[in-house]
């Protein structure tokens, strides 16, 4: 397991080298109205990955979709036994639209695994995960790993509507305790979530928190975690070109040592210390 010491010494390299592979598509289906699940046949070397890492996908050029740069996508699932690599994605623009056109038997060029994933330190026994929307894609493999490591995991899943709630079955199947909150039920507000989390902590102290994306949730968790001195990690996003640390376009600002430092989301991240993240 890699630590997220977040040092930026040059040339240290990854434990796992980076591979560029043309993968065959096993399936690419709609999961609900807004999301799609992409399943690739992947060689073993690609599947030696960690929850929170990502791949950089070379979207196909076809018809009116002419994406140029690769697109970063979190690993939603990696199954060395089945030789499968899963991505859960939302069709937002040219690149993801192009990916959505792929069908069984087509190929997709992927680069990875990339970045540093989530930690589950030995003394982190009771885990909390808070995710909204497609953020679940990033956090889902954490559930699988926490089960493998025999940790207790609670997942608060937030979405606009119950219809859009993703991966609930996935979590349930893994024995994760799921708390679903939605805008339509009025249960997803910051106050509502705060009281849910405080309730959980009161019940059984949380050892670590994980989240990704949403600024509102980041702020909430930073505040709760600070109060209770709970460590946490967050997966962040940024526009990327190279995905492997060369171009410096994917930096974000972090609080460190009383000042602000820039770190590359693709290399030092995408997973960072919860308290260091700067909301935007």
């Amino acid at each position: 397991m890699k630590s997220i010491a977040l040092d930026t010494a040059p040339g240290t390299g990854y434990a796992n080298p980076i591979h560029e592979v043309e993968c065959i598509i096993r399936s690419n289906d709609t999961v609900n109205g807004e999301y799609r699940l992409l399943v690739l046949n992947a060689p073993l070397e690609l599947l030696d990955c960690e929850p929170g890492q990502f791949f950089h996908l070379l979207c196909p050029v076809s018809g009116t979709f002419k994406p140029y740069l690769r697109r970063p996508m979190s690993i939603y699932g990696y199954y060395p036994d089945r030789g499968e690599l899963h991505f859960l994605y939302k069709v937002t623009g040219e690149g993801t639209s192009a990916i959505a056109t792929l069908t069984t038997g087509d190929t997709l060029n992927v680069l990875g695994p990339l970045g540093r994933g989530f930690d589950i330190l030995p003394n982190w026994q009771n885990l909390l995960l808070v995710a909204r929307g497609v953020g679940l894609a990033t956090l889902a493999p954490l559930a699988l790993k926490s089960r493998r490591l025999n940790r207790k995991l609670t997942a608060i899943c937030s979405a606009r509507s119950r219809k859009l709630l993703l991966s609930l079955d996935y979590f349930n199947d893994l024995g994760v305790r799921v708390i679903a909150v939605t805008d339509e039920d009025g249960t997803s507000s910051v106050e509502s979530m705060r009281s849910i989390i405080e309730g959980l902590i009161a019940e059984d102290p949380i050892d670590a928190m994980y989240t990704c994306g949403s600024n509102r949730i980041l702020k909430l968790l930073q505040s709760v975690a600070a109060t209770h001195r709970i460590p946490g990690q967050i997966a962040l996003e940024q526009q990327m070109a190279c995905g492997i640390g060369m171009c410096q376009c994917c930096v974000r600002a972090f609080h460190r040592d009383g000042g602000i430092v820039n770190e590359r989301v693709c290399k030092e991240g995408p997973v960072f210390h919860l308290q260091e993240a700067v909301g935007c």
């Binding site: 140029y68 740069l69 070109a241 190279c242 492997i244 410096q248 974000r252």
Partner: protein, 314 residues
């Protein structure tokens, strides 16, 4: 025997394929053996620590990209401590790209960086001349000459001048750099461009504008490389939009003695390694025995007299 080496002044490269500054780093060692390429070129480094431009620093345009990274830099001390030693494990020569806001600062940084382990200095004179009027040194022959003179006096290492496509005086700038002592020209840096998000109505780059690189830029940079090769006697290193082996060959035919690959590495990280092989295969298929036989072999029937006229649009 197939000879794919090339000569850049006193420096012999085992092949003409190298990275463009800012699109390469130690991190690429995780993808392929960096010793297969002709040289290593670092991201531009400045004397002081700098944080670079606001994000977003990159955006996509039709078939290419814009960037406004700026020059985030750990400063020359950290660079000497961490980066130079990293590359010293390789045989490929290390080319260090530097930049500064005035001719004097440029020269003193150049002196400071002229240390063992560095094979040549690439001077990124496409950066703004802050002490003067803020225009890049390489926008005008006079400012190019002035800064190159000082740089020339500051080091014994080969000096490669990296030109900008934003000028209307490409050949004049090239000649000024040569006259002031440049050992080679790198042609070229990115071209100023812009994109606006029509939904938010905001510029797609945090810094308002940025540099165009990638395939869309190739015909422009190739034209410049050709113009420069025709105007100077020092080697020209072509750079801009190269993404296929045919592009490499086109630059060599146009007169470039070597090429730098930038943006294409973001799409295909192993591209430089592949091109070294593809180049050898191409030469062999064509019955050529050395890269030198390609360099500058363009059949232009002396048309280069028209260069100045051509600076007009059609």
């Amino acid at each position: 025997m197939l000879d794919i080496s090339t000569q850049i002044g006193t420096l012999k490269l085992k092949n003409p394929i190298m990275p463009a500054s800012g699109t390469f780093s130690e991190d690429l060692a995780d993808v392929f053996d960096l010793d297969v390429i002709g040289a290593h070129v670092t991201k531009t480094v400045t004397r002081e620590k700098r944080s670079g431009n606001p994000t977003p620093r990159v955006c996509e345009v039709r078939g290419s990209m814009l960037n406004s990274i700026g020059i985030p830099s750990k400063g020359v001390e950290a660079f000497k401590k961490d980066v130079i030693p990293f590359y010293s494990r390789y045989n490929a020569p290390l080319i260090v790209s530097i930049s500064a806001g005035s001719a004097d600062e440029f020269a003193s940084l150049c002196e400071e960086i002229s240390v063992p382990g560095v094979a040549a200095v690439e001077v990124n004179i496409s950066c703004p001349n802050i002490k003067d009027d803020g225009k890049a040194f390489a926008m005008r022959p006079s400012t190019t000459h002035a800064v190159m003179r000082k740089l020339r006096d500051s080091t014994d290492l080969p000096l490669w001048a990296k030109l900008t496509p934003n000028t209307g005086e490409t050949t004049e700038v090239a000649k000024a750099a040569e006259e002031a002592g440049a050992d080679a020209l790198v042609v070229s840096n990115t071209l100023l461009a812009m994109a606006i998000d029509i939904k938010t109505r905001r510029p797609k780059l945090g810094n308002l504008m940025g540099g165009l690189s990638g395939p869309a830029f190739k015909p422009i940079a190739l034209r410049m490389a050709y113009q420069c090769a025709k105007s100077v006697d020092i080697p020209v290193i072509g750079c801009g939009g190269i993404s296929t082996i045919e592009d490499v060959i086109e630059y060599l035919i146009a007169g470039a003695a070597a090429v730098q690959i930038g943006t294409a590495t973001f799409i295909e990280p192993k591209i430089m390694a592949r091109m070294v092989v593809d180049l050898a295969v191409y030469l062999e298929t064509q019955g050529l025995s050395s890269v030198r036989q390609l360099v500058g072999c363009v059949d232009d029937k002396g048309a280069s007299d028209g260069l100045v006229f051509m600076e007009a649009a059609p």
